[in-house]
């Protein structure tokens, strides 16, 4: 169980309003709503679960690897995790999203926490492998003394709450609907963690071609509220 200080750090940096710009992304939901693929509570919940599943088997693995690398003080391994994430973002908008949120998290952490491995990683990233969000989050939580399972949980919570935050603005659902969906989807985080905790960077994968097509179509939309 987390102690009080760790629980507070988890709440602060895992909060959906922590200023990493999550509110400007919908992770494909905007196009899904436009085409009617998502149109009510049930379809929204299914969509969110697909997003969190892909986040667990892809970015979530990198977060765990980064967390362990940070605890071992292994900057090379952290960079390898960042590279693994970046190479697998084959869609432009999701690539922009992970790099932008990673940078914002690193900047915020520097202001709030101070000197850290994350700062070293940012300092050496210029022109090379960019800092990505899941890796930055893993490193930060490791340095704050938050355990890897809790860090993974915060990442999964963030993936779901990003889409649900966008949903309130994109379709006819209210805040209580989205909280119920979040509650239901969170039930799966524990089993996802058990499944991916033994995976390595080479095992990172996700199969979500429908999300990929929606994301690919989004960048051509004339009217957009969100950046993805």
């Amino acid at each position: 169980m987390s102690t009080v200080p760790e629980a507070l750090k988890l709440l602060q940096f895992g909060d959906s309003v922590f200023p990493v710009g999550a509110f400007s992304f919908s992770n494909g939901l905007e196009t899904a709503v436009e085409h009617g693929a998502v149109h009510d509570r049930t379809t929204l919940q299914e969509f969110v679960r697909t997003v969190t599943r892909a986040a667990a088997t892809g970015d979530g693995v990198a977060l765990l690897v980064a967390h362990r690398a940070a605890r071992a003080g292994d900057l090379d391994r952290i960079r390898a995790a960042d590279e693994a994430v970046h190479l697998r973002k084959i869609n432009e908008e999701t690539r922009t999203m992970t790099v932008r949120m990673g940078r914002k998290l690193a900047e915020a952490a520097e202001r709030v926490v101070g000197e850290s491995l994350l700062r070293k990683r940012v300092a050496e990233s210029g022109g090379g492998v960019p800092v990505t969000y899941p890796v930055a989050l893993g490193v930060l939580f490791a340095e704050l003394g938050v355990g890897e399972a809790d860090a993974f949980a915060a990442h999964q919570y963030g993936a779901a709450s990003m889409v649900l935050g966008a949903a309130v603005r994109l379709m006819r659902v209210d805040h209580l609907d989205t909280q119920s969906i979040l509650f239901a989807v969170n039930e799966r985080v524990g089993e996802d963690y058990e499944e991916v905790r033994t995976a390595g960077l080479d095992d990172m994968q996700s199969f979500a071609p429908h999300l990929d097509v929606l994301a690919g179509a989004h960048q051509h939309a004339h009217v957009r509220m969100f950046m993805s």
Binding site: P209, G216, A217
Partner: protein, 307 residues
């Protein structure tokens, strides 16, 4: 040779078939093809061939009237598809300026399995200005089949590779219909520069029994998935993007497509979802035609009426 036996998704399937044991004689298919540009003949020739059944190739034919110097090579299998315990590997090498067109004779049928799995490693190495089209027929994973493939592409910026895969859900019209009844389909594609600098990685692990694929965000109501990767320099990629980028969202066919730029200026990826194979293949063909025209200045000849 890389072995895929230890990948984590294969852990539940390490039992031996009741027939020939895995990787036994006759179950290790090897294909090695080396293409070279031949100045005197003004065409690319298939300089090196090594084949071991169940993989087989026919001689290079020059059937493409739009590109008469392009050797067209058809890959065959002597066993009617991928069987449990098969370990296949394909290794293709293109010298400077060489061009080649690789296809399969028929759909790749990953046969029903009750023990073990099949694997396939593919390696494509391209030299400066080489051009390779790898356009196999669709893949059909049968009920309870388990298949893992791993593909590595090495190429310099001046070279181009066009790689298209179409994945069917199973034998859709066989008996009561076989849709996503397979155990495991795992595929990895990675590309890097000759100096080792990585370009991108794409890995799917589809295990319909463990996590349903007919969900929104995965396959939704679609059954057939086309995935085309065009690795080429940024100028050519930009021209192909210009022609193909408008996304398709056709509710009636139905068909959905989208193009995206790969990381590290590696090229483009084109994704297609459909209910039936033909519309997906047509979309894939249209993208491939744009790619070939922009890269080589030549178009594709009409599709053979019997294919």
């Amino acid at each position: 040779m890389t072995t895929l036996d230890s990948v984590r998704e294969l852990a539940p399937y390490q039992d031996q078939p009741a027939q020939l044991p895995a990787a036994a004689n006759g179950k290790v298919g090897i294909l090695r093809l080396g293409f070279e540009w031949h100045e005197d003949q003004d065409r690319t020739i298939l300089r090196d061939v090594f084949r071991q059944s169940p993989l087989l190739v026919q001689r290079a034919l020059y059937w493409d009237e739009e590109m008469p110097g392009l050797p067209c090579v058809m890959i065959l299998t002597t066993s009617g598809g991928v069987l449990q315990g098969d370990r296949l590997s394909i290794d293709v090498d293109l010298g400077p300026g060489a061009q080649a067109h690789l296809v399969t004779q028929a759909a790749t049928k990953i046969q029903e399995m009750d023990a073990n799995y099949g694997t396939q490693t593919q390696s494509f190495t391209l030299a400066e200005d080489a051009y390779l089209e790898f356009l196999p027929e669709p893949v059909i994973p049968f009920r309870r089949s388990r298949f893992v493939s791993d593909t590595v592409v090495r190429l310099p910026e001046t070279a181009t590779m066009l790689y298209a895969e179409v994945l069917q859900p199973g034998r859709k019209y066989y008996r009561d219909g076989e849709i996503f009844a397979y155990d495991l389909f795992s595929t990895t594609l990675r590309a890097h520069r000759p100096d080792g600098r990585p370009l991108f990685v794409e890995k799917f692990v589809i295990a319909p029994g463990r996590f349903p694929v007919t969900r929104i965000g995965m396959m939704d109501r679609f059954h057939v998935f086309g995935n085309v990767v065009l690795l080429t320099d940024p100028d050519r990629a930009a021209r192909v993007f210009e022609r193909t980028a408008t996304p398709v969202w056709d509710e009636r066919t139905p068909l959905a497509t989208a193009v995206s730029r790969l990381p590290n200026d590696a090229g483009l990826v084109f994704k297609v979802l459909g209910q039936e194979t033909e519309p997906v293949r047509a979309a894939v063909r249209a993208f491939c035609t744009a790619a070939r025209e922009e890269v080589t200045g030549c178009t594709f000849p009409p599709v053979f009426s019997w294919r």
